[in-house]
């Protein structure tokens, strides 16, 4: 192993401090006994207990979860279909335009996306609530899914699909039995991305939600405006923990998988 030079040590420390110090402080203060956020008064887990009693937060969490699961599922289906058509559809009229247009929402300011969706829902006379949030989240996260899936499709060996056709599969069967299982990791990654985007969204939800539907980020935002409470810190810490567990499990699983494949390939090469 190489030793790091002092310069590397300094830049590494600074960089990671910059990234993680705010979160660390948040987590530490979530265990603060005092109600005052900035004064340390000893260790306690009471805010976690109180959080579980808080119906408003629990409701908001439930709404968020529902919205995230449903919208990311729709976004994954639509995004995968779009990616498949754009990558595999051959040269059809307007393909370049469509490929460009699928990326546009990625850079579009959320305020504009939110506003235009709001105008649309008002225009067609749709009651705002959970349904409109789901629709809005599906709209903006499907392009992220499409980007993830199409980059996988571009590196996908086309001859696998041709082999399936050659063996008598219809194009749809070839997609279902060959393409989809192979690109599944990218589809799952796209789903997870859409899921976190939906969990995370505040701006668009603010625009398109109605009085009956409040998501967790909206709830946190509105409580913070009345002053930061240790309860919010506790809630945020739980979210951080959940996300970390998710990321670590996913990366460990994929690492173990690729190690196993490599081992088996080596074993196969030896027994030639």
């Amino acid at each position: 192993m190489n030793r790091l030079s002092p310069f590397n040590v300094v830049s590494l420390t600074l960089g990671f401090a910059f990234l993680y110090l705010p979160m660390l402080i948040l987590v530490i203060y979530s265990f603060n006994k005092s109600k005052l956020v900035t004064v340390w008064a000893g260790f306690s887990t009471k805010w976690y207990g109180e959080l579980l009693q808080n119906e408003a937060f629990l409701d908001a969490a439930w709404v968020t979860l529902k919205v995230a699961v449903v919208s990311s599922t729709f976004a994954t289906i639509l995004g995968t279909m779009a990616a498949y058509t754009l990558v595999r559809g051959g040269r059809f009229f307007g393909r370049t335009l469509f490929s460009g247009m699928i990326y546009a929402p990625l850079v579009m300011p959320e305020v504009i996306t939110g506003l235009s969706l709001l105008l649309l829902f008002i225009g067609i006379g749709m009651d705002r609530g959970v349904v409109t949030i789901v629709l809005a989240h599906t709209t903006f996260s499907m392009c992220f899914v499409s980007v993830v899936v199409s980059s996988r499709l571009m590196s996908f060996d086309r001859s696998l699909e041709e082999a399936a056709l050659d063996l008598g599969a219809t194009p749809f069967t070839a997609f279902r039995l060959i393409t989809l299982p192979i690109i599944a990791p990218a589809v799952v990654a796209g789903w997870l991305l859409a899921f976190t985007l939906s969990l995370d969204d505040l701006v668009i939800a603010q625009f398109v939600s109605g009085p009956a539907a409040t998501t967790l980020p909206m709830k946190i935002w509105s409580s913070v405006r009345l002053g930061v409470s240790p309860e919010i810190n506790a809630l945020s810490s739980i979210l951080i923990a959940l996300v970390s567990i998710g990321v670590i499990t996913a990366s460990l699983a994929s690492k173990r998988h690729s190690l196993r494949i490599k081992r088996e390939e080596l074993a196969a090469a030896r027994t030639t």
């Binding site: 082999a163 063996l167 599969a169 390939e265 196969a268």
Partner: protein, 373 residues
């Protein structure tokens, strides 16, 4: 009893399995296949041979249904197959990259095509077992493609493409990824399987030895056109052009002008000091430019002037020792070099010739082929 020779291409009563009729394929402005006409017969082992980019894969893809000809017609068993999608053709292809389905086991890879035909479970299982046995893969049925070696993968790809008993099997450089020894074993295995199953094989290769070994007929291609189609023997001994002579095996080309000299005999002025005497059934006019192609193994090398139709003196420039053979590069006083090949039939014999030795190279009037282009 004389064994009947397999030569349907010489029999006017035979109808070909595949016909290319003036087929042209363009990609944009680029002409990949140029007005190509060709017949391939049932039970043939037909080899397409040519340099990289000459259109071999494109021909296969047109047969499999992944590309359609821009002009002309391709028919299979008498039916025009233009527009028939790949999944509706009784043609299977073994891909250059094998294209094994990485998430399926060897067994399921082989069963994939059979399941598409709505066969019963038992029928599928029986056929898969048969294929596993044919390709000696029984032990690996439950493995995934990444868990087997390159040679085994190649056999899985073959078994998968043979499982549906296609009328025509296309093999696109099937042995390209194997090392030389495994390659030779597999070539014989392929010939064996082809004979057992009676399937028509069209194989693409850029290895001329491979084409000569396996094929009933070889087509030599260049830039989207077929230059010559013939049996391996005919292609080697009677190439129709300098391109084919040069592409298949090693050859000496003596270029010059022809001068008729008796019945089907010519003298070639090739600037080698003496005139070369050559027999040719193909007529040449007086002064017509021509090329005399002679294989190195048909040229003898001796210390003294031999009694031969053609003999010239030179000195040994270089010797390539190949184990079983040695090739001598003999430089003539005119600066030209002639390759002569001898078999090393004796072990540890003293080399007869060494560098700079003056020698005679000689060949008979029928040793070479006289070509006009």
């Amino acid at each position: 009893m004389a064994e009947t020779v397999f030569a349907p291409w010489d029999d006017p009563n035979e109808t070909p399995l595949i016909t290319f009729q003036n087929v042209t394929k363009r990609f944009g402005d680029f002409v990949a296949i140029d007005d190509l006409t060709l017949d391939i017969f049932e039970r043939e082992f037909f080899a397409l041979l040519g340099p990289s980019g000459c259109g071999k894969t494109t021909m296969m893809r047109m047969l499999a249904g992944f590309e359609n000809p821009t002009e002309g017609a391709i028919s299979l068993a008498g039916k025009d197959i233009a527009g028939v999608p790949p999944n509706k053709r009784a043609v299977n292809m073994m891909f250059q990259s094998y294209a094994l389905f990485p998430h399926l086991t060897v067994w399921d890879n082989i069963a994939f095509g059979l399941k598409r035909d709505n066969l019963s479970k038992d029928a599928v299982a029986t056929r898969v077992e048969e294929m596993l046995k044919l390709t000696r893969l029984q032990k690996f049925a439950r493995r995934k493609p990444h868990q087997i070696s390159g040679g085994q993968r190649q056999r899985v790809a073959l078994a998968r493409s043979l499982a549906k008993a296609p009328k025509l099997l296309l093999l696109d450089e099937p042995l390209g990824a194997l090392d030389k020894k495994l390659r030779q074993d597999t070539q014989f295995e392929l010939m064996d399987i082809q004979e057992k199953t009676g399937t028509t094989f069209v194989i693409v290769t850029h290895d001329q030895e491979e084409a000569m070994t396996v094929a009933s007929r070889v087509a030599v291609m260049d830039e989207g056109r077929i230059i010559q189609v013939a049996t391996p023997e005919r292609i080697y001994e009677g190439p129709n052009s300098v391109y084919v002579a040069d592409f298949i095996g090693d050859v000496n080309i003596l270029s010059g002008t022809a001068k008729p000299f008796g019945r089907e005999m010519y003298q070639v002025d090739w600037g080698g000091g003496t005139l070369a005497t050559a027999a040719s059934a193909k007529p040449f006019s007086d002064g017509q430019s021509c090329h005399l192609a002679i294989r190195p193994e048909k040229i003898s090398i001796t210390a003294d002037r031999p009694e031969a139709d053609n003999a010239v003196q030179g000195k040994v420039l270089d010797i390539a020792y190949l184990g079983n053979l040695s090739t001598y590069y003999v430089e003539l006083p005119t600066g030209q070099t002639i390759k002569a090949q001898t078999a090393n039939t004796r072990r540890i014999s003293r080399r007869t010739f060494t560098w700079e030795d003056p020698v005679w190279v000689s060949w008979t009037a029928t040793a070479g082929v006289l070509l006009d282009s």
